[in-house]
Protein backbone atom coordinates (compact mmCIF):
# COMPACT_ATOMS: atom_id res chain seq x y z
CA UNK A 1 0.00 0.00 0.00
CA UNK A 2 1.19 3.47 -0.92
CA UNK A 3 0.59 6.34 1.48
CA UNK A 4 1.43 9.94 0.62
CA UNK A 5 1.04 12.36 3.51
CA UNK A 6 1.28 16.19 3.59
CA UNK A 7 3.49 16.20 0.52
CA UNK A 8 5.03 19.53 -0.41
CA UNK A 9 7.29 19.46 -3.46
CA UNK A 10 8.70 21.46 -6.38
CA UNK A 11 11.60 21.40 -8.78
CA UNK A 12 15.09 22.43 -7.65
CA UNK A 13 14.99 26.08 -6.67
CA UNK A 14 11.52 26.72 -8.15
CA UNK A 15 8.30 27.39 -6.23
CA UNK A 16 6.20 24.73 -4.52
CA UNK A 17 4.05 22.84 -7.03
CA UNK A 18 2.40 20.52 -4.52
CA UNK A 19 1.23 22.19 -1.33
CA UNK A 20 -0.31 19.60 0.95
CA UNK A 21 -1.20 16.41 -0.84
CA UNK A 22 -2.58 13.23 0.77
CA UNK A 23 -3.09 10.23 -1.50
CA UNK A 24 -3.48 6.55 -0.82
CA UNK A 25 -3.39 3.45 -3.02
CA UNK A 26 -4.70 0.35 -1.25
CA UNK A 27 -3.98 -3.26 -2.24
CA UNK A 28 -5.82 -4.34 -5.40
CA UNK A 29 -6.82 -0.81 -6.38
CA UNK A 30 -6.59 1.27 -9.50
CA UNK A 31 -6.44 4.91 -8.41
CA UNK A 32 -6.45 7.80 -10.85
CA UNK A 33 -5.29 11.38 -10.50
CA UNK A 34 -7.16 13.85 -12.65
CA UNK A 35 -7.15 17.62 -12.85
CA UNK A 36 -6.39 20.56 -15.14
CA UNK A 37 -2.99 21.19 -16.69
CA UNK A 38 -0.45 22.39 -14.17
CA UNK A 39 -2.36 21.01 -11.19
CA UNK A 40 0.69 18.92 -10.24
CA UNK A 41 -0.48 15.45 -11.28
CA UNK A 42 2.80 14.39 -12.86
CA UNK A 43 4.70 16.01 -10.02
CA UNK A 44 3.03 13.57 -7.60
CA UNK A 45 4.35 10.62 -9.62
CA UNK A 46 7.77 12.14 -10.09
CA UNK A 47 7.97 12.83 -6.35
CA UNK A 48 7.37 9.16 -5.63
CA UNK A 49 10.25 8.44 -7.99
CA UNK A 50 12.68 10.85 -6.40
CA UNK A 51 12.78 13.22 -9.35
CA UNK A 52 11.55 16.32 -7.51
CA UNK A 53 12.67 18.36 -4.59
CA UNK A 54 10.55 17.23 -1.63
CA UNK A 55 10.17 19.97 0.98
CA UNK A 56 7.85 18.33 3.49
CA UNK A 57 5.73 15.25 4.05
CA UNK A 58 6.24 11.56 3.60
CA UNK A 59 5.75 8.89 0.94
CA UNK A 60 5.54 5.37 2.31
CA UNK A 61 5.35 2.14 0.35
CA UNK A 62 4.32 -0.74 2.64
CA UNK A 63 6.82 0.01 5.43
CA UNK A 64 9.54 1.86 3.52
CA UNK A 65 9.92 5.64 3.46
CA UNK A 66 10.66 6.60 -0.15
CA UNK A 67 11.60 10.24 0.38
CA UNK A 68 15.37 10.55 -0.08
CA UNK A 69 15.84 7.25 -1.89
CA UNK A 70 17.63 7.47 -5.25
CA UNK A 71 15.44 6.74 -8.29
CA UNK A 72 17.32 3.63 -9.34
CA UNK A 73 16.75 1.89 -5.99
CA UNK A 74 12.92 1.98 -6.07
CA UNK A 75 12.60 -0.81 -8.60
CA UNK A 76 13.83 -3.30 -6.00
CA UNK A 77 10.96 -2.35 -3.69
CA UNK A 78 8.48 -3.48 -6.36
CA UNK A 79 7.61 -0.08 -7.83
CA UNK A 80 7.70 0.40 -11.61
CA UNK A 81 7.09 3.62 -13.50
CA UNK A 82 5.75 4.17 -17.00
CA UNK A 83 6.73 7.79 -17.65
CA UNK A 84 4.88 10.23 -19.87
CA UNK A 85 5.33 10.23 -23.63
CA UNK A 86 6.16 6.68 -24.73
CA UNK A 87 9.57 6.66 -23.13
CA UNK A 88 11.52 3.78 -24.60
CA UNK A 89 15.15 3.18 -25.52
CA UNK A 90 14.67 4.02 -29.21
CA UNK A 91 18.20 3.10 -30.30
CA UNK A 92 17.93 -0.37 -28.75
CA UNK A 93 15.98 -3.39 -29.93
CA UNK A 94 12.61 -4.38 -28.46
CA UNK A 95 14.29 -7.37 -26.81
CA UNK A 96 17.04 -5.18 -25.32
CA UNK A 97 14.37 -2.80 -23.98
CA UNK A 98 12.76 -5.69 -22.13
CA UNK A 99 16.15 -6.89 -20.85
CA UNK A 100 16.81 -3.41 -19.46
CA UNK A 101 13.46 -3.59 -17.68
CA UNK A 102 14.96 -6.46 -15.69
CA UNK A 103 18.31 -4.74 -15.14
CA UNK A 104 18.45 -5.39 -11.41
CA UNK A 105 17.30 -9.00 -11.79
CA UNK A 106 20.25 -11.41 -11.46
CA UNK A 107 18.38 -14.66 -12.26
CA UNK A 108 18.80 -15.13 -16.02
CA UNK A 109 16.20 -17.89 -16.22
CA UNK A 110 13.61 -15.67 -14.58
CA UNK A 111 14.39 -12.90 -17.10
CA UNK A 112 13.90 -15.36 -19.97
CA UNK A 113 10.65 -16.58 -18.44
CA UNK A 114 9.37 -13.03 -17.99
CA UNK A 115 10.23 -12.09 -21.57
CA UNK A 116 8.40 -15.21 -22.75
CA UNK A 117 5.39 -14.18 -20.64
CA UNK A 118 5.47 -10.67 -22.14
CA UNK A 119 5.67 -12.10 -25.67
CA UNK A 120 2.62 -14.29 -24.97
CA UNK A 121 0.63 -11.33 -23.73
CA UNK A 122 1.82 -8.95 -26.46
CA UNK A 123 2.55 -11.03 -29.61
CA UNK A 124 3.43 -7.87 -31.55
CA UNK A 125 6.55 -7.44 -29.39
CA UNK A 126 7.71 -10.96 -30.26
CA UNK A 127 7.22 -10.18 -33.92
CA UNK A 128 9.34 -7.02 -33.68
CA UNK A 129 11.74 -8.42 -31.09
CA UNK A 130 14.93 -7.64 -33.04
CA UNK A 131 13.87 -4.30 -34.46
CA UNK A 132 14.89 -0.96 -33.05
CA UNK A 133 12.18 0.25 -30.71
CA UNK A 134 12.02 3.58 -32.55
CA UNK A 135 10.51 1.70 -35.53
CA UNK A 136 7.37 0.77 -33.55
CA UNK A 137 4.12 2.71 -33.90
CA UNK A 138 3.02 5.01 -31.08
CA UNK A 139 0.66 2.46 -29.54
CA UNK A 140 3.27 -0.28 -29.80
CA UNK A 141 5.85 1.94 -28.11
CA UNK A 142 3.49 2.56 -25.21
CA UNK A 143 2.87 -1.21 -24.94
CA UNK A 144 6.64 -1.71 -24.89
CA UNK A 145 7.02 0.90 -22.13
CA UNK A 146 4.37 -0.91 -20.06
CA UNK A 147 5.90 -4.32 -20.84
CA UNK A 148 9.31 -3.05 -19.73
CA UNK A 149 7.78 -1.87 -16.44
CA UNK A 150 6.24 -5.35 -15.96
CA UNK A 151 9.59 -7.11 -16.37
CA UNK A 152 10.33 -6.75 -12.65
CA UNK A 153 6.96 -8.16 -11.52
CA UNK A 154 6.04 -4.92 -9.73
CA UNK A 155 3.58 -4.66 -6.84
CA UNK A 156 2.81 -1.04 -7.71
CA UNK A 157 2.71 0.43 -11.20
CA UNK A 158 2.77 4.19 -11.69
CA UNK A 159 1.60 5.48 -15.06
CA UNK A 160 1.90 9.04 -16.32
CA UNK A 161 -0.61 9.88 -19.08
CA UNK A 162 -0.50 6.44 -20.76
CA UNK A 163 -3.06 7.45 -23.40
CA UNK A 164 -1.36 10.71 -24.42
CA UNK A 165 -1.10 11.06 -28.19
CA UNK A 166 -2.53 7.63 -28.97
CA UNK A 167 -5.28 6.80 -31.46
CA UNK A 168 -8.67 5.93 -29.89
CA UNK A 169 -8.12 2.28 -30.77
CA UNK A 170 -4.65 2.14 -29.23
CA UNK A 171 -5.96 4.03 -26.19
CA UNK A 172 -8.74 1.50 -25.71
CA UNK A 173 -6.19 -1.30 -25.89
CA UNK A 174 -3.92 0.35 -23.31
CA UNK A 175 -6.81 0.78 -20.84
CA UNK A 176 -7.71 -2.89 -21.26
CA UNK A 177 -4.12 -3.87 -20.57
CA UNK A 178 -4.13 -1.73 -17.41
CA UNK A 179 -7.24 -3.52 -16.12
CA UNK A 180 -5.73 -6.93 -16.90
CA UNK A 181 -2.53 -6.12 -15.02
CA UNK A 182 -4.58 -4.91 -12.07
CA UNK A 183 -6.60 -8.16 -12.00
CA UNK A 184 -3.30 -9.99 -11.49
CA UNK A 185 -2.91 -8.12 -8.20
CA UNK A 186 -0.84 -5.09 -9.18
CA UNK A 187 -1.77 -1.78 -7.56
CA UNK A 188 -1.98 1.00 -10.11
CA UNK A 189 -1.72 4.76 -9.74
CA UNK A 190 -2.53 6.49 -13.00
CA UNK A 191 -2.37 10.13 -14.04
CA UNK A 192 -4.65 10.92 -16.97
CA UNK A 193 -5.90 13.90 -18.91
CA UNK A 194 -8.62 11.67 -20.34
CA UNK A 195 -10.62 11.88 -17.13
CA UNK A 196 -13.68 9.92 -18.22
CA UNK A 197 -11.69 6.88 -19.39
CA UNK A 198 -9.51 6.94 -16.27
CA UNK A 199 -12.39 7.26 -13.82
CA UNK A 200 -14.27 4.43 -15.49
CA UNK A 201 -11.53 1.87 -14.81
CA UNK A 202 -10.56 3.23 -11.37
CA UNK A 203 -11.74 2.22 -7.91
CA UNK A 204 -11.11 5.72 -6.63
CA UNK A 205 -10.16 9.06 -8.13
CA UNK A 206 -8.48 12.19 -6.77
CA UNK A 207 -9.10 15.57 -8.37
CA UNK A 208 -6.01 17.75 -8.08
CA UNK A 209 -6.23 21.53 -8.38
CA UNK A 210 -3.45 24.07 -7.84
CA UNK A 211 -1.27 21.50 -6.10
CA UNK A 212 -3.95 20.35 -3.67
CA UNK A 213 -6.44 17.49 -3.52
CA UNK A 214 -9.76 19.22 -4.27
CA UNK A 215 -11.94 16.13 -4.29
CA UNK A 216 -11.82 12.38 -3.77
CA UNK A 217 -14.42 9.86 -4.87
CA UNK A 218 -15.56 6.86 -6.87
CA UNK A 219 -16.92 6.83 -10.40
CA UNK A 220 -19.63 9.31 -9.34
CA UNK A 221 -16.90 11.98 -9.18
CA UNK A 222 -17.68 12.77 -12.82
CA UNK A 223 -21.08 14.11 -11.75
CA UNK A 224 -19.49 16.63 -9.40
CA UNK A 225 -19.97 20.27 -10.45
CA UNK A 226 -16.26 21.05 -10.06
CA UNK A 227 -15.20 18.20 -12.33
CA UNK A 228 -17.89 19.06 -14.85
CA UNK A 229 -16.65 22.62 -14.98
CA UNK A 230 -13.02 21.61 -15.56
CA UNK A 231 -13.60 18.85 -18.06
CA UNK A 232 -16.88 19.34 -19.78
CA UNK A 233 -17.06 23.11 -20.04
CA UNK A 234 -19.39 25.41 -18.13
CA UNK A 235 -22.59 23.70 -17.00
Amino acid sequence: MLTIKNLKAGYFSGPDILHDVDIEVRPGEIVSLIGPNGAGKSTVLRSIFGQTDIRAGSIKFIETELVGLPTHSLINLGISFVPQGRQIFGTMTVHENLEMGAFTQKDKNLIKQNIEGIFKRFPILREKSNQNASNLSGGQQQILAIARALMQNPKLLLMDEPSLGLSPKAMHEIFEVIQEINKEGVMILIVEQNARAAVEISNRTYLLEMGKVALEGGSDILKDEKVKKIYFGRD
Binding site: H72, F81, G90, T91, E96, M151
Partner: protein, 290 residues
Protein backbone atom coordinates in the same frame (compact mmCIF):
# COMPACT_ATOMS: atom_id res chain seq x y z
CA UNK B 1 50.75 6.94 -55.08
CA UNK B 2 46.98 6.76 -54.61
CA UNK B 3 47.24 3.45 -52.74
CA UNK B 4 49.97 4.87 -50.54
CA UNK B 5 47.65 7.75 -49.64
CA UNK B 6 44.87 5.30 -48.79
CA UNK B 7 47.20 3.36 -46.52
CA UNK B 8 48.55 6.51 -44.86
CA UNK B 9 44.95 7.62 -44.32
CA UNK B 10 44.15 4.27 -42.77
CA UNK B 11 47.11 4.53 -40.38
CA UNK B 12 46.18 8.06 -39.31
CA UNK B 13 42.53 6.99 -39.07
CA UNK B 14 43.41 4.03 -36.84
CA UNK B 15 44.92 6.40 -34.27
CA UNK B 16 42.19 9.03 -34.55
CA UNK B 17 39.60 6.26 -34.23
CA UNK B 18 40.90 5.27 -30.81
CA UNK B 19 40.91 8.91 -29.67
CA UNK B 20 37.39 9.45 -31.00
CA UNK B 21 36.01 6.13 -29.70
CA UNK B 22 37.02 6.89 -26.11
CA UNK B 23 35.79 10.47 -26.37
CA UNK B 24 32.44 9.50 -27.95
CA UNK B 25 31.88 6.70 -25.46
CA UNK B 26 32.21 9.16 -22.58
CA UNK B 27 30.19 11.86 -24.35
CA UNK B 28 27.36 9.47 -25.20
CA UNK B 29 26.59 8.76 -21.55
CA UNK B 30 27.60 11.92 -19.67
CA UNK B 31 26.51 14.37 -22.43
CA UNK B 32 29.24 16.93 -21.91
CA UNK B 33 32.43 17.54 -23.87
CA UNK B 34 35.37 15.99 -22.03
CA UNK B 35 38.28 17.80 -23.71
CA UNK B 36 40.60 16.66 -20.93
CA UNK B 37 40.42 13.28 -22.67
CA UNK B 38 43.37 14.54 -24.77
CA UNK B 39 45.23 15.31 -21.56
CA UNK B 40 44.66 11.77 -20.35
CA UNK B 41 46.20 10.46 -23.58
CA UNK B 42 49.26 12.71 -23.21
CA UNK B 43 49.71 11.80 -19.55
CA UNK B 44 49.44 8.07 -20.35
CA UNK B 45 52.11 8.49 -23.05
CA UNK B 46 54.38 10.11 -20.46
CA UNK B 47 53.66 7.25 -18.08
CA UNK B 48 54.98 4.89 -20.74
CA UNK B 49 58.07 7.09 -21.05
CA UNK B 50 58.49 7.18 -17.28
CA UNK B 51 58.17 3.45 -16.68
CA UNK B 52 59.92 2.22 -19.84
CA UNK B 53 62.58 4.79 -20.73
CA UNK B 54 63.32 6.27 -17.30
CA UNK B 55 62.69 3.42 -14.86
CA UNK B 56 63.63 0.60 -17.23
CA UNK B 57 60.59 -1.67 -16.84
CA UNK B 58 60.10 -4.26 -19.61
CA UNK B 59 58.17 -2.63 -22.47
CA UNK B 60 54.99 -4.71 -22.23
CA UNK B 61 54.74 -4.20 -18.49
CA UNK B 62 55.28 -0.44 -18.90
CA UNK B 63 52.62 -0.41 -21.64
CA UNK B 64 50.09 -2.12 -19.37
CA UNK B 65 50.88 0.33 -16.56
CA UNK B 66 50.42 3.26 -18.99
CA UNK B 67 47.07 1.91 -20.27
CA UNK B 68 45.74 1.30 -16.76
CA UNK B 69 46.93 4.70 -15.56
CA UNK B 70 44.88 6.26 -18.39
CA UNK B 71 41.80 4.61 -16.95
CA UNK B 72 42.65 5.75 -13.43
CA UNK B 73 43.28 9.36 -14.54
CA UNK B 74 39.95 9.43 -16.38
CA UNK B 75 37.97 8.13 -13.41
CA UNK B 76 39.84 10.50 -11.06
CA UNK B 77 39.03 13.55 -13.22
CA UNK B 78 35.37 12.54 -13.19
CA UNK B 79 35.34 11.87 -9.47
CA UNK B 80 37.19 14.97 -8.27
CA UNK B 81 36.17 17.57 -10.88
CA UNK B 82 33.01 16.68 -12.82
CA UNK B 83 31.03 14.90 -10.13
CA UNK B 84 31.08 17.80 -7.64
CA UNK B 85 29.99 20.08 -10.51
CA UNK B 86 27.15 17.70 -11.45
CA UNK B 87 26.01 17.65 -7.83
CA UNK B 88 25.66 21.42 -8.02
CA UNK B 89 23.74 21.00 -11.28
CA UNK B 90 26.37 22.87 -13.29
CA UNK B 91 25.45 23.37 -16.95
CA UNK B 92 27.32 21.46 -19.69
CA UNK B 93 29.02 24.76 -20.59
CA UNK B 94 30.49 25.13 -17.10
CA UNK B 95 31.69 21.54 -17.23
CA UNK B 96 33.21 22.21 -20.66
CA UNK B 97 35.18 25.12 -19.21
CA UNK B 98 36.32 22.90 -16.35
CA UNK B 99 37.35 20.24 -18.84
CA UNK B 100 39.50 22.67 -20.88
CA UNK B 101 41.08 23.84 -17.61
CA UNK B 102 41.94 20.27 -16.69
CA UNK B 103 43.48 19.78 -20.14
CA UNK B 104 45.69 22.86 -19.65
CA UNK B 105 46.56 21.73 -16.14
CA UNK B 106 47.67 18.32 -17.36
CA UNK B 107 49.80 19.93 -20.09
CA UNK B 108 51.51 22.16 -17.55
CA UNK B 109 52.04 19.12 -15.38
CA UNK B 110 53.78 17.35 -18.27
CA UNK B 111 55.90 20.44 -18.87
CA UNK B 112 56.99 20.77 -15.24
CA UNK B 113 57.81 17.12 -14.64
CA UNK B 114 59.12 15.98 -18.01
CA UNK B 115 60.35 19.20 -19.66
CA UNK B 116 59.54 20.91 -22.94
CA UNK B 117 61.77 18.77 -25.13
CA UNK B 118 60.20 15.99 -27.21
CA UNK B 119 60.71 12.44 -26.02
CA UNK B 120 60.68 9.26 -28.02
CA UNK B 121 60.24 5.67 -26.94
CA UNK B 122 62.46 3.93 -29.53
CA UNK B 123 61.11 0.49 -28.72
CA UNK B 124 60.53 -0.62 -32.29
CA UNK B 125 62.62 0.41 -35.25
CA UNK B 126 60.44 2.66 -37.41
CA UNK B 127 62.84 2.89 -40.32
CA UNK B 128 62.42 -0.47 -42.04
CA UNK B 129 59.58 -0.29 -44.52
CA UNK B 130 58.00 -3.34 -46.12
CA UNK B 131 57.05 -3.06 -49.76
CA UNK B 132 53.62 -4.56 -50.42
CA UNK B 133 52.88 -4.04 -54.12
CA UNK B 134 52.55 -0.29 -54.69
CA UNK B 135 52.62 0.50 -50.96
CA UNK B 136 55.39 0.95 -48.42
CA UNK B 137 54.40 0.33 -44.80
CA UNK B 138 56.44 -0.37 -41.67
CA UNK B 139 55.76 -3.38 -39.47
CA UNK B 140 55.00 -0.93 -36.64
CA UNK B 141 52.30 0.69 -38.75
CA UNK B 142 50.77 -2.70 -39.51
CA UNK B 143 50.81 -3.41 -35.78
CA UNK B 144 49.12 -0.06 -35.04
CA UNK B 145 46.32 -0.59 -37.56
CA UNK B 146 45.76 -4.23 -36.55
CA UNK B 147 45.67 -3.56 -32.81
CA UNK B 148 43.47 -0.48 -33.20
CA UNK B 149 40.92 -2.38 -35.29
CA UNK B 150 40.99 -5.38 -32.92
CA UNK B 151 40.36 -3.15 -29.92
CA UNK B 152 37.49 -1.40 -31.70
CA UNK B 153 35.89 -4.75 -32.56
CA UNK B 154 36.21 -5.80 -28.91
CA UNK B 155 34.62 -2.51 -27.85
CA UNK B 156 31.66 -2.98 -30.20
CA UNK B 157 31.13 -6.55 -28.98
CA UNK B 158 31.23 -5.28 -25.40
CA UNK B 159 28.63 -2.59 -26.12
CA UNK B 160 26.40 -4.97 -28.07
CA UNK B 161 26.42 -8.13 -25.97
CA UNK B 162 27.34 -7.49 -22.33
CA UNK B 163 24.94 -6.30 -19.68
CA UNK B 164 27.20 -3.36 -18.79
CA UNK B 165 27.51 -2.38 -22.46
CA UNK B 166 23.74 -2.43 -22.86
CA UNK B 167 23.28 -0.40 -19.68
CA UNK B 168 25.74 2.20 -21.06
CA UNK B 169 23.69 2.40 -24.26
CA UNK B 170 20.51 2.70 -22.21
CA UNK B 171 21.89 5.68 -20.24
CA UNK B 172 23.16 7.21 -23.49
CA UNK B 173 19.70 6.78 -25.04
CA UNK B 174 17.48 7.98 -22.19
CA UNK B 175 19.00 8.65 -18.80
CA UNK B 176 15.79 9.20 -16.85
CA UNK B 177 14.22 5.94 -18.06
CA UNK B 178 17.49 4.16 -17.32
CA UNK B 179 17.22 5.39 -13.73
CA UNK B 180 13.62 4.23 -13.59
CA UNK B 181 14.52 0.65 -14.54
CA UNK B 182 17.16 0.62 -11.82
CA UNK B 183 20.37 1.66 -13.59
CA UNK B 184 22.43 4.09 -11.52
CA UNK B 185 23.61 6.69 -14.03
CA UNK B 186 26.44 7.81 -11.75
CA UNK B 187 27.78 4.27 -11.74
CA UNK B 188 27.52 4.13 -15.53
CA UNK B 189 29.39 7.46 -15.78
CA UNK B 190 32.25 5.98 -13.78
CA UNK B 191 32.30 2.94 -16.05
CA UNK B 192 32.28 5.15 -19.16
CA UNK B 193 35.26 7.13 -17.88
CA UNK B 194 37.07 3.93 -16.93
CA UNK B 195 36.51 2.29 -20.31
CA UNK B 196 36.85 5.42 -22.46
CA UNK B 197 40.09 6.37 -20.71
CA UNK B 198 41.40 2.81 -20.97
CA UNK B 199 41.07 3.22 -24.74
CA UNK B 200 42.84 6.59 -24.36
CA UNK B 201 45.72 4.82 -22.60
CA UNK B 202 45.87 2.24 -25.39
CA UNK B 203 45.91 5.02 -28.00
CA UNK B 204 48.72 6.73 -26.04
CA UNK B 205 50.94 3.65 -26.26
CA UNK B 206 50.42 3.31 -30.03
CA UNK B 207 51.02 7.04 -30.59
CA UNK B 208 54.15 6.97 -28.43
CA UNK B 209 55.56 4.19 -30.59
CA UNK B 210 54.97 6.04 -33.86
CA UNK B 211 55.42 9.71 -32.95
CA UNK B 212 57.20 11.91 -30.44
CA UNK B 213 55.83 12.59 -26.99
CA UNK B 214 55.46 16.27 -26.18
CA UNK B 215 53.57 18.23 -23.52
CA UNK B 216 50.89 19.64 -25.85
CA UNK B 217 50.23 16.45 -27.84
CA UNK B 218 46.91 15.97 -26.03
CA UNK B 219 45.36 19.13 -27.44
CA UNK B 220 46.46 18.28 -30.97
CA UNK B 221 45.00 14.77 -30.69
CA UNK B 222 41.82 15.98 -29.07
CA UNK B 223 41.18 18.35 -31.98
CA UNK B 224 41.40 15.40 -34.36
CA UNK B 225 39.31 13.13 -32.15
CA UNK B 226 36.69 15.82 -31.64
CA UNK B 227 36.54 16.58 -35.38
CA UNK B 228 36.17 12.87 -36.12
CA UNK B 229 33.29 12.61 -33.62
CA UNK B 230 31.51 15.60 -35.15
CA UNK B 231 31.91 14.19 -38.67
CA UNK B 232 30.53 10.79 -37.71
CA UNK B 233 27.94 11.86 -35.14
CA UNK B 234 29.07 12.73 -31.64
CA UNK B 235 26.49 10.60 -29.85
CA UNK B 236 27.67 7.30 -31.24
CA UNK B 237 30.95 5.44 -30.93
CA UNK B 238 30.47 3.95 -34.40
CA UNK B 239 30.08 7.48 -35.77
CA UNK B 240 33.31 8.60 -34.13
CA UNK B 241 35.20 5.66 -35.61
CA UNK B 242 33.76 6.24 -39.08
CA UNK B 243 34.57 9.96 -38.83
CA UNK B 244 38.13 9.15 -37.74
CA UNK B 245 38.90 7.04 -40.80
CA UNK B 246 37.29 9.62 -43.10
CA UNK B 247 39.34 12.38 -41.47
CA UNK B 248 42.55 10.36 -41.84
CA UNK B 249 41.79 9.84 -45.53
CA UNK B 250 40.77 13.45 -46.14
CA UNK B 251 43.95 14.78 -44.55
CA UNK B 252 46.18 12.51 -46.58
CA UNK B 253 44.30 13.13 -49.81
CA UNK B 254 44.57 16.85 -49.07
CA UNK B 255 48.34 16.86 -48.75
CA UNK B 256 48.56 15.20 -52.14
CA UNK B 257 48.00 18.72 -53.49
CA UNK B 258 48.75 20.97 -50.53
CA UNK B 259 51.92 21.28 -48.42
CA UNK B 260 51.80 18.83 -45.50
CA UNK B 261 51.72 21.67 -42.97
CA UNK B 262 48.11 22.24 -44.08
CA UNK B 263 47.05 18.91 -42.48
CA UNK B 264 45.57 20.50 -39.37
CA UNK B 265 43.90 23.23 -41.44
CA UNK B 266 42.14 20.53 -43.46
CA UNK B 267 40.77 19.04 -40.25
CA UNK B 268 39.47 22.43 -39.11
CA UNK B 269 37.83 23.20 -42.45
CA UNK B 270 36.03 19.86 -42.34
CA UNK B 271 35.01 20.54 -38.73
CA UNK B 272 33.49 23.90 -39.69
CA UNK B 273 31.69 22.47 -42.71
CA UNK B 274 30.04 19.81 -40.57
CA UNK B 275 29.21 22.17 -37.70
CA UNK B 276 27.53 24.51 -40.18
CA UNK B 277 25.71 22.09 -42.43
CA UNK B 278 25.36 18.78 -40.62
CA UNK B 279 26.04 19.26 -36.91
CA UNK B 280 24.46 15.91 -36.07
CA UNK B 281 27.13 14.12 -38.16
CA UNK B 282 26.85 11.39 -40.76
CA UNK B 283 25.26 8.74 -38.51
CA UNK B 284 23.51 11.20 -36.21
CA UNK B 285 19.79 11.76 -36.05
CA UNK B 286 18.35 15.26 -35.96
CA UNK B 287 16.93 15.93 -32.53
CA UNK B 288 13.46 17.22 -33.06
CA UNK B 289 11.23 14.83 -31.15
CA UNK B 290 12.99 15.06 -27.79
Amino acid sequence: MFYQILVNGLIAGAIYALVAAGFSLIYSTVKFVHFAHGGVIALSAYMLYLFYSMLGLPFWLAAIVAILSGSIFGVAIDYFIYRPLRKRRASPTIILVASVSVLLLLESFNLIFFGADVKSINFLDIGTGLTLGPVIITSLQIFIVASSISLLILLFAFMKYTKMGKAMRAVADNKSVAEIVGISSERIYTWSFALGSLIAGFAAVLIALEQNIEPTMGTALMIKGFTASIIGGVESVAGGVLGAFLLGLAENLGIWWLPSSYKDAIAFVILFIFLLFRPEGILGVKKSNK
